[in-house]
């Protein structure tokens, strides 16, 4: 969560970062292993915390 916020801040893009904990919402994305990161509705990673540079690459 914090890393995603850092990525947004460093890139200077306008984006809302939300932490989702509701299991129904999580499984509606098809995510079966957490943590996961979703960018604009697409799951980019599941089961691990991605590196800052990876996150920046997904939200550029």
């Amino acid at each position: 969560m914090e890393r995603a916020k850092d990525a947004v801040k460093q890139l200077g893009v306008e984006a809302e970062v939300i932490k989702v904990q509701d299991i129904k919402t999580i499984t509606n994305y098809g995510v079966l292993i957490t943590p996961a990161l979703v960018v604009d509705g697409v799951v980019k990673v599941a089961g691990k915390v991605p590196k800052l540079e990876e996150i920046k690459g997904w939200i550029k």
Binding site: Y29, G30, V31, L32, I33, A36, V38, V42, V43, K44, V45, A46, G47, K48, V49
Partner: protein, 136 residues
């Protein structure tokens, strides 16, 4: 020192074909039996075929992938491979002597045979060198 597979049951992902034949349904029921027995996690093959990002990424996080197909057409294996995954353990139900037909009233004993076989294979792999590097 040789690296050992430390796969926990929830990192062992089980996919089954669930095809429209007795053996497809046996494959699916065996996957459910294994999951309910705590051997691994039952995962959604259709989600892989549909390129659902959450399913794909969740599968990437798995440490051991198991594919159970009903017959030699191997749709489950091919679906996973098409999405870029390497399968650690693959079984066709027909390999265990079950003849394919289109009677969906399969025998529970055939499900047990498939589940027992895979449970044994998975146990062996859990004591074997790690099939892939850890996630992260």
């Amino acid at each position: 020192m040789q690296e050992k597979c430390l796969c926990e049951a929830n990192e062992i992902l089980i996919f089954s074909c669930a095809g429209s034949s007795n053996v497809g349904q046996i494959a699916n029921q065996a996957a459910i039996t294994l999951a309910q027995g705590g051997v691994g996690r039952y995962f959604c093959l259709a989600g892989i075929g549909g390129h659902v990002s959450g399913m794909i990424e969740s599968t990437r996080a798995g440490k051991m992938l198991i594919a159970i197909d009903g017959c030699s057409v191997s749709c489950g294996k091919k679906t996973l491979e098409h999405a870029g995954f390497d399968i650690d353990e693959h079984l066709q139900v027909t390999e265990l002597g079950v003849e394919k037909n289109h009677d969906l009233n399969f025998k529970p004993s055939d499900v047990r045979k498939v589940a027992d076989h895979l449970s044994s294979q998975i146990s062996k792999r859990r004591a074997a060198p790690s099939p892939r590097p850890p996630v992260g």
